[in-house]
Symmetry: C2
Subunit: 339 residues, 2 copies
């Protein structure tokens, strides 16, 4: 009893069409040198048999896979979702398809070695290049291009797209200061995160520029999560002299502030102005003041960069003159900053 064959292979197509596999392969890959009647015939056989290229087999032989990968520690996190939207948009405009890889568990991908594993897994086999979001490793070995978004380390060796954390924070603060606030709280992210530190520095400098001394009591240590954001907000709002505005270092944190404010019966923005650094779509319905949207733009730009790298086109400064609040850099040089 022989095994029933379910998959239609290129061999089946070739046999049915009465040609050789290489001819079929040529048609499949749009090579020019096939007689158009042979081509039509093969195409119709392919259609009849319902043949589809075996991704794995193809990937093993050819360089071009028409597929880019997106590696994310967590697929459900608002930041990640925004990034995906941007990547999606760039993908739609390109000839590439997208493969998002997740372990489904943040903890699995939290170590640098795991990150390297996923990069290799995709890049050494089925994708032409990968985008990695919020990597903690400062370098990767890979034989296909890599672009990172919002790396968590300060001096990555790979090309990068990240927000103008410092400048953005300064602008956010200027906005709040412009509203007349004198006591503005800040909730940070984890102290080892580059982004958080730059945002904190922006907070401090903006206050200083406005001639307002920094009150260390108003700076709470968060971790970019809603839960801790809520806790920090409660702490700040329970001070003898509570802040009239809170600048949350990211959007998750801002949500936490929102929750706490609600629990405490405070209206937003009447009783308390809340500003989140990022700009997740929900924010506008929550009455939070947010910066211009740029997260999905990071995904968009990163994807464009990656595709350029794949095509071995150069990443010149000219290309990345942007109007958005982003920094684009390859491993050694900044290509563009916020306009």
């Amino acid at each position: 009893m022989r095994k029933k064959k379910v998959t239609v292979t290129i061999q089946d197509v070739a046999r049915t069409a009465g040609v050789s596999v290489s001819t079929v392969s040529r048609v499949l890959n749009g090579k020019a040198d096939v007689a158009s009647e042979t081509q039509d015939h093969i195409l119709s056989v392919i259609d009849n048999l319902g043949y589809t290229t075996n991704l794995a087999a193809r990937s093993m032989r050819s360089f071009k896979k028409n597929l880019v990968g997106l590696i994310m520690p967590d697929i459900a996190y608002p930041f990640a979702i925004e990034v995906m939207k941007g990547v999606n948009r760039a993908i739609a405009e390109s000839e590439f398809d997208l493969l998002v890889y997740t372990t489904g568990d943040v903890r699995k991908s939290e170590s640098a070695s795991h990150e390297q594993k996923y990069v290799s897994l995709l890049n050494n086999s089925i994708t032409d290049g990968v985008i990695i979001v919020a990597p903690i490793a400062s370098e990767f070995s890979s034989n296909a291009p890599i672009v990172s978004i919002d790396p968590l380390v300060s001096n990555p060796t790979y090309p990068t797209v990240h927000a103008t954390n410092y400048q953005g924070a300064v602008e956010a603060m200027e906005y709040l200061l412009g509203l007349g606030h004198k006591r503005i709280g800040f909730i940070s992210g984890r102290a080892e995160l580059e982004s958080s530190n730059r945002r904190l520095k922006g907070y401090r400098d903006a206050l200083e520029n406005a001639g307002i001394p920094v009150d260390e009591e108003l700076i709470a240590s968060g971790d970019y999560t809603t839960e801790i954001g809520a806790v920090c907000a409660r702490k700040l709002l329970s001070l003898d002299k509570p802040p009239t505005a809170i600048f949350a270092s990211n959007d998750q944190t801002a949500m936490g502030v929102f929750q706490t404010a609600q629990e405490m019966g405070l209206r937003i923005p009447e009783d308390l102005s809340v500003m989140g650094f990022d700009n997740i779509s929900e924010s506008k319905y929550m009455g939070l003041t947010t910066m211009d949207q740029f997260i999905s733009e990071m995904g968009f730009v990163a994807t464009q960069m990656l595709i350029k790298l794949i095509k071995r086109e150069s990443l010149d400064t000219q290309t990345y003159k942007m109007k958005t609040q982003l920094v684009v850099r390859n491993s050694c040089q900044e290509l563009a900053v916020a306009a």
Copy 2:
């Protein structure tokens, strides 16, 4: 000049460790019959060299890939995102990783033949099974299991997880009726969609049960998008006798209603009650009344189903006694419905 070799293969590991490839392969796949000292040695070599399995090559030879696929027409759509969250959760609990496949362009995957292509692409090569969201094809050919979420056709031949569209709509209406509303508008989805029709029927029947005659003027034809939702809302609210509540057949539509209400200076829910069938997270911030969350639950359940199928465990009714508003069915039989 020979080509520089960047990828570390199983051959390299074998050579470095001074064993044969098959031994390395055995270690890689956790076979028992390897001397533990050989094993340790190989493991350390693997670690040193930074070797990672080539997904493509592995997929070609073995059945088990430890990877499930999720095929989505659009990755940015709120419904899709909720589904992903649920899938993600189930994946996290399993030994499988997740690969989300998108073309980045809804239009690309809109035809049944494209759907089949993506199913084959993943299932015949790198994944052990796929989940397909909102498919329009009524059957698929594949040699690995398929589970669908919210299929757009009425009698699919593949296993399915979908919402209790009729019952859910009835309950949504009962809620609005319970609030005292007599004139309730309805905005449908496209007429060929199974889900929309069942929701519309729920709307009609609930009114009938409440002894309220259906006013056809209050039924607007939408298409599950925010834009058309807004247009329909404007139409309904401009009637001589406008509705005091609107039941939007999905969440996107509800957002459109929200927009229009804002433009017209109506407060929600004070001036207008809005109910969306789905329950996207933003809704609660918009003051919309929504049903219990179940979309991500669909993703969760579908993933569990798929994994059972992959493991060739049976899909028995017992397993799917659920408390959520879902219908779970394999191709011929309902396994569970809303409690």
